[in-house]
Symmetry: C2
Subunit: 339 residues, 2 copies
Amino acid sequence: MPILDHDTVQLAHGAGGRLSADLIGRLILPRFTSPELDRLEDQAVLDLPPGRLAFSTDTFVVSPIFFPGGDIGELAINGTVNDVAMCGAGPVALSVGFVLEEGLPLADFHRILCSMEAAAKRAGVRVVTGDTKVVGRGACDRIFINTSGLGVVPAGVELGAGLIRPGDAVVLSGTLADHGMAVMTAREGLGFSSTVRSDTAALNGLVRLILDVCPGVRALRDPTRGGVATTLNEFACAGGVGIVLEEASLPVRPDVRGACEILGIDPLYVANEGKLVAVVPADAAEAVVAAMRGHEHGRGAVVIGKVTDEHASRVTMITGLGARRIVDMPVGEQLPRIC
Amino acid sequence: MPILDHDTVQLAHGAGGRLSADLIGRLILPRFTSPELDRLEDQAVLDLPPGRLAFSTDTFVVSPIFFPGGDIGELAINGTVNDVAMCGAGPVALSVGFVLEEGLPLADFHRILCSMEAAAKRAGVRVVTGDTKVVGRGACDRIFINTSGLGVVPAGVELGAGLIRPGDAVVLSGTLADHGMAVMTAREGLGFSSTVRSDTAALNGLVRLILDVCPGVRALRDPTRGGVATTLNEFACAGGVGIVLEEASLPVRPDVRGACEILGIDPLYVANEGKLVAVVPADAAEAVVAAMRGHEHGRGAVVIGKVTDEHASRVTMITGLGARRIVDMPVGEQLPRIC
């Protein structure tokens, strides 16, 4: 499949000259056309609605770049949309920065661009500015993608881990560990778990729904690297509170659980890319869960624990046998290059 | 020099757990402290003054990471400040995304962080959000840095290559090719040119000055990758005009010219990181040049050419011998990984 005048990325595609213009004009821009991007200036100029601005950045280095349920491009759009959305903002605009390795098949790059285009459309955001660099063979692993995102925080919306209070309920939007285990099993070539798929999804619609049902939501976060265990530890520390989980309530798909068991990995520590943790006042929990279950990305929503004034800054878990154990921050590296 | 509990970057520094928190909390945050960043949420929430917003992104992959006159960190701050500033905006906030290779000496990373801190202070911008990824040995070349930037466009300021008109003057703020040749000579170990230094600098102060003196400035751009030749070709195409350069007026330092001659490189195509090209109405050119010369980053300002209605979308040059030649877009790769 010949694309442009080459089959693979050339160093000159990143040199700022004619081949750069060709790559950008014929391969990249058609996927992201927006009034700001089409100006081809070094920056986008945006007229945003008034309000506080949310700004987030993330670089995606996942390996492999294609995995069951998604690819690095879809992940890069959804990941930054989610980081922007978790403060209650409505994501509006993204920047995209590519680092391409010389020799990357242009067909692979095109496939990634197409899935970025589709993901941006689904999330309702536009790509307004970008950058493309090419490095020699061996200087990066195929493709890295940085996305930075802007969103507008509605008036009156104020979320943050510091607002969490004893008595609050901890809600998880669905099953644990799907993304991380999809990447792991793809990487390790573990055929036994061919049904495990990434959960990558843009959660801004779900966030809007939660804010509608429960304007007093304390904090939202998408538990990516380090998993739900890390997110809850961050919440507990920032709020100076304890968090108690009910092991029996933690939703894990059977195939994901099987993969975790075989690899000796605790699903609480595995990255998710289409889930969120919401801490809400206890009296709102039922309504929030019910509303979330009516949304495509919240069908598995469930209360997984509560906030306490005991064991401040600690996450603990009541196990299936009724014992209590500490759920600590991870120390080492379980799953490199998962996002 | 032991930093943290290790001398080099470990995979676990990017895993989202305790070592990540250690790297971020003890090495990165102290260099960039800002109210937004210190919240440690997944996004910054900003209260910006009203006005249109400029948004830009750039990933820096320069090799070597330390070079005469600067390093990858300083470049990453100045480069995005400049991209934001070239539409007339005042840069306010940056995001920073690191990709670190396992094994990178933490002392090198610390040195880069310190020069980013100093560059951000000089430019008057704050780092408000960030991301750090670690990849295994061989999966990237030491360190890549993405910066994305936000700035506020003052009311009434409207710049763009499409506004360029025949008769306008083309002003360059100083000498050509310093950055690219500093990186090249460092990379090639060419001792003969030990005086060649990068010109990396934040140009937002100079931009403010130009706007004060000449509110009707048509377009500004910093000629980085592809050099002044590429910037002028982009201007000529976007404006549907011709641009004629006077070869004799092009400022090049003697040591840089010598390095270019030995390496067979035309300084018009070499990256600059502390220079700008301004297209201004002819009757404002003298005042603009005079004002620029009073600024530390514009001391070498000079008119290098003019806009014509002949040779539309073409850049031509009147050589020292009075002949006219075409200055085309570069096709191939002269200088990979210069920024």
